[in-house]
């Protein structure tokens, strides 16, 4: 069995950054990737806009990934590709990974592991679409793979359900490739994607966006022949009598991403219902000692730059943890769920010598002129005014805390008018 200080699962942007920083921190590091090439989902995101924060440049997905792949290769950090982690067991203080590849099954031992295995897309059944089950109904990510990686059009005249970013980007992509996109239908009364994508992907190509509408039925035997569209009420329930049939040969779904945490769950890592990713502290360590989480496996990010940042922070912490284990004292961060969708991290380890917290949060609703305040007992750790908070747009904030003043007290996040 080979032993490492830190093993990273996944070589997407999160895993690459995590592997790099863990290595730079001095840990003996291994990255394991299921696919033949590193890069994760970025390989199929051939549009630009990646890296504005990280590199102050507009890169395409593959370009962005390539920069990190080069850094990893230059440092000769080992990446096992076409290699799949089937299970992880904790034995005493060591994690034992079962790893499958064309060479057989091997065991790999690690002092710390970083879960950077990304997310999957919600499917039509998971949002309760009914009707027949023809071919031509697919997630936006699958359509993106067909078009960008394989060079095939999955349909010629389609509608897109859901205004998530991948859906918006695919609306433009399919249009550029000669398919007709009849419209993007969103059940909520506001789009879920970034404003920049609404403008650049829909408006610029005159693709209509319909809010408060959804698909209630798909028809067609072999291929999709059409869909039934309905208006929905304020509870997102279809309104009888508003049904309209639209002919099309494809339905592309962009209805949400779900962090992949099956391996985490098998290790009894507690999952936050709000993010669908693990609870973590400011060092990105989950509630199980030695297991770290970052990127889209932790929570769904809208910018890859933040994915990289979380990977980098997780990598650094994991390396530290591997070199000298420490006892944690986790204090929960309190968050009013009527105001926020979530905030990551959810805990503060007050024993940690890292007292700088990088926090990602999303408001629950579109709100204007609010103050976000973070306080511990009576001390205000952070305060910022926002003219505008929008759930699709994640906010990143950084604050320090003073350990001594924190004992026994949790940190509270507040949102106030004004």
């Amino acid at each position: 069995m080979e032993f490492y200080d830190v093993v990273v699962l996944g070589a997407g942007p999160a895993g690459l950054a995590a592997g790099l920083s863990s290595y730079e921190e001095g840990a003996n590091t291994l990255i394991i990737e299921r696919e033949k090439y590193p890069g994760g989902i970025l390989k199929q995101c051939i549009h630009d806009g990646f890296g504005l924060v990280e590199f102050k440049e507009r890169l395409t997905g593959p370009e962005y990934a390539e920069r990190f792949i080069k850094m990893v290769r230059n440092k000769k950090i080992p990446i096992l590709t076409s290699t799949f982690v089937t299970s992880i067991k904790k034995e005493e203080e060591i994690f034992i990974l079962s790893v499958v590849s064309k060479d057989g099954i091997i065991k790999v031992g690690a002092k710390a592991i970083i879960l950077a295995n990304g997310c999957r897309e919600r499917t039509s059944k998971q949002i309760g679409i009914h009707g027949t089950r023809p071919s031509g109904v697919m997630t936006a990510g699958l359509a993106q793979y067909f078009v960008n990686i394989m060079g095939y059009l999955p349909c010629k005249k389609c509608i897109i359900l859901g205004s998530g970013d991948i859906g918006l980007i695919m609306a433009r992509r399919l249009t550029l490739e000669g398919a007709k996109v009849l419209g993007v239908y969103e059940v909520k009364n506001s789009p879920s994607g970034l404003t920049r994508n609404i403008v650049q992907c829909l408006n610029d190509f005159s693709i209509p966006l319909y809010l408060s509408k959804t698909i209630t039925k798909i028809s067609g035997d072999d291929r999709v022949e059409g869909v039934e569209i309905c208006d929905v009420d304020e509870n997102m329930k279809p309104i009888k009598g508003t049904e309209k049939f639209i002919e099309c040969d494809g339905v592309i779904l962009s209805v949400g991403l779900i962090p992949e945490n099956e391996i985490a769950e098998s290790l009894n890592v507690e999952i936050d219902n709000a993010t669908k990713g693990p609870y973590v502290d400011q060092n990105f360590m989950t509630k199980v000692d030695g297991i770290f989480s970052c990127g889209n496996a932790l929570h769904v990010n809208d910018l890859v730059d933040y994915v990289t940042e979380s990977g980098r922070l997780a990598g650094k912490s994991a390396a530290k943890y591997a070199s000298s284990k420490y006892k944690r004292a986790l204090n929960p961060i309190e968050i009013p769920l009527n105001k926020f969708l979530y905030a990551v991290p959810q805990y503060i380890d007050i024993n940690s010598d890292n007292n700088k917290v990088v926090m990602y949060l999303r408001s629950r609703d579109i709100v204007k002129n609010v103050k976000v305040i973070i306080k511990s007992r009576n001390e205000i750790l952070y305060e910022k005014r926002y003219t505008h908070l929008n759930p699709p747009e994640m906010e990143r904030i950084v604050f320090d805390f003073n350990r001594s003043s924190l004992n026994d007290y949790s940190i509270k996040i507040l949102m106030q008018e004004g």
């Binding site: 299921r34 696919e35 033949k36 090439y37 890069g39 390989k43 199929q44 593959p62 076409s82 799949f84 089937t86 079962s98 499958v100 590849s101 064309k102 060479d103 057989g104 099954i105 999957r120 897309e121 499917t123 059944k125 998971q126 309760g128 009914h130 009707g131 027949t132 089950r133 023809p134 071919s135 031509g136 697919m138 997630t139 990510g141 699958l142 793979y145 067909f146 078009v147 960008n148 990686i149 394989m150 060079g151 095939y152 059009l153 999955p154 349909c155 010629k156 490739e177 000669g178 209630t216 039925k217 028809s219 035997d221 072999d222 291929r223 040969d249 099956e262 769950e265």
Partner: protein, 582 residues
């Protein structure tokens, strides 16, 4: 007038139907069956009239009543036309490649005869045989003395053996029927008696505590339960495919995308069967056409029954929740309709998921598998409470199937009384899967009997009852799995991350004894795309493997045969980058 029809009987039925259903329905006798014709306002009336005419001393009910304004879609047949089977002579032609037709083909392959099994779809088990719960019922539900009761109990007994011979995972997990005070008192004596009459072994009453020891995660809303330990669970499509593959390995022939379109009879004997792939001249024909069995009977002028499709919806939950259930648990509602379903419940599948359902809905469309919110919501409301730890967010998909119910509500397993060389295995609704091995043995006997009047029928000297399935690496010990990968590295390349299916397994499916190359057919054999992402990740890789191993262009690859193409054309620039798993 045929059969021993009683004078005035038909008038009596006609009167009742006019009184309680519609005056636009006309009854007549046809041979020894009762024929209903006319036009009514609703489909419910059609069913009601059919039921009124049932068990009134006729062999069967031929219900041809139409509903005003309702046109049934014409039968769905393959678009393919060729003459692959033109003038083909076979000893036995089996119409229908569900579990029944496939099991029959396998049992008949013991004999020195030529066998051709045809199915109109691009794979076996596309209809009821892949759209059910996979439960091998103990045989307690059917009324004593029915064929259902007999074949169910016999079939159940045979399962351990056939599953082993055919290398299909099968487990006697048992099923638990929870009851409350009322149900316990009324039903329990009936159950005991019925178990004895039907020959169901091992039935046992359990206290609440004993029940909870077996199923610790179920709710508390019951006082005790009955357990049927002989109940088993199997993958219905894998079972069907295994039967058919074993038949093929023993010399039978399977022709997919082949529909029986019409039948030519002379002197009450089938001369030939026309298909979209040529005219077949069989010595005998076995009708195992599922929901379409009445149409096949009609083609041979031997219609004496009616299939009224009874739809059932089933939900599939994420494997993650599999740990909260060990067997099959149901709690019948007091007001449950008798003829409907057994009420459904929660079922742990052989692959570790949980199924919830089915329900039972009478509706006129034989191949309509669409689902709607109402039915799915009803199932959620009815059965989810049994397992408090499951929630709608655990649903990975749902589907529906149609049971081939006749008005008599019993299996039809017999030599035609009218056509000399036709045998029916029809009306095989639930528990048809459980009964299949026993039904097949009896049909085998009948077929050999009829054939023996036309030719010499000898047993095959080298019949091989065994068939090796595709290895399931995910279920193996690491040591065994390692050995497989060492022998064939493709077994180490994981394509489907949710179900952990390797490239090797997918290649095996493509090259199996009945070669297939649609996504769904591969899914039925080795499960890529059956997990929580429903193929969003692995579809392109599976397509690529098909492209390489089945000698197909990606533009020709379909989801489920016909025109269900995956992609429609190349992009402007054509071929893309070299990424992905492969």
């Amino acid at each position: 007038m045929n059969g021993g029809a009683v004078l005035g009987r038909i008038e009596k039925i006609q009167g009742e139907i006019i009184n309680s259903v519609s005056k636009n329905i006309f009854c007549a006798e046809k041979r020894n069956s009762i024929l209903l014709e006319g036009e009514v306002e609703t489909y419910e009336e059609v069913i009601k009239a059919g039921k009124l005419a049932t068990n009134r001393g006729y062999k069967g009910v031929i219900n041809n009543i139409k509903v005003k304004g309702l046109t049934l879609p014409s039968r769905k047949h393959p678009k393919l036309i060729d003459n692959k089977l033109e003038r083909k002579k076979v000893d036995v032609l089996i119409i229908g490649g569900g579990v029944i037709g496939s099991a029959i083909a396998r049992e008949l392959s013991k004999w020195e005869i030529s066998i051709l099994l045809i199915d109109k779809e691009d794979d076996l088990a596309v209809h009821a045989s892949s759209r059910n719960n996979g439960m091998i019922h103990p045989g307690i539900d059917p009324n004593p003395k029915t064929k259902k009761a007999y074949y169910n109990v016999q079939g159940n007994k045979l399962y351990s053996k056939v599953a082993k011979e055919l290398d299909v995972s099968f487990e006697r997990c048992g099923n638990i029927v929870l009851y409350d005070a009322w149900y316990g008192k009324i039903i329990s004596p009936v159950l005991k008696l019925r178990a004895r009459l039907n020959g169901v072994e091992g039935m046992k009453y359990l206290s609440k505590r004993e029940t909870k020891e077996l199923e610790p995660y179920i709710y508390d809303d019951f006082i005790g339960s009955v357990i049927f330990p002989t109940t088993g669970i199997v993958s219905p499509y894998k079972m069907t495919i295994a039967f058919a593959e074993n038949a093929v390995l023993n010399g039978a022939e399977v022709s997919l995308n082949t529909a029986a379109l019409s039948i030519k009879c002379e002197d009450r004997k089938i001369i030939y069967v026309d298909t979209n792939r040529g005219r077949i001249f069989p010595k005998i024909v076995i009708n195992a056409a599922g929901v379409h069995a009445d149409e096949i009977a009609e083609m041979a002028d031997d219609r004496f029954f009616t299939i009224h499709p009874r739809k059932g919806h089933i939900l599939i939950l994420d494997k993650k929740k599999g740990q909260f259930l060990n067997s099959i648990v149901s709690k019948p509602a007091i007001n449950q309709s008798k003829s409907g379903t057994k009420g459904g419940g929660v079922t742990k599948t052989i692959d570790g998921n949980i199924l919830v359902g089915p329900d039972a809905v009478e509706q006129p469309f034989k191949e309509d598998y669409s689902t709607n919110k109402e039915n799915i919501d009803n199932i959620i409301n009815k059965h989810f409470p049994i397992l408090p730890l499951i929630s709608p967010s655990d649903i990975i998909t749902y589907f529906s199937g149609n049971r081939a119910a006749t008005y008599e509500e019993d299996f039809i397993i017999e030599k035609s009384e009218y056509v000399k060389n036709l045998i029916h295995a029809a009306g095989i609704q639930s528990p048809g899967l459980a009964s299949a091995p026993a039904i097949a043995l009896d049909i085998e006997k009948m077929a050999v009997e009829v054939l023996s009047t036309m030719m010499e029928v000898k047993p095959k000297e080298k019949w091989n009852p065994y068939r090796k399935g595709i290895p399931e690496l995910f279920k193996m010990s690491e040591k065994e799995r390692n050995e497989y990968i060492k022998k064939r590295p493709d077994y180490g390349i994981i394509i489907c991350r949710c179900e952990e299916i390797s490239k090797g397994e997918i290649v095996d499916a493509i090259n199996s004894p009945i070669p297939v190359n649609s996504l769904d057919a591969i899914k039925r054999r080795v499960r890529p795309g059956m997990g929580r992402c429903q193929g969003a990740f692995c579809t392109p890789s599976v397509a690529k493997i098909i492209e390489e191993n089945a000698n197909k262009n990606i533009l020709e690859i379909t989801k489920k045969g016909g025109e269900s193409y995956l992609v429609v054309e190349e992009t402007k620039k054509g071929g893309g980058a070299q990424f992905g798993i492969l």
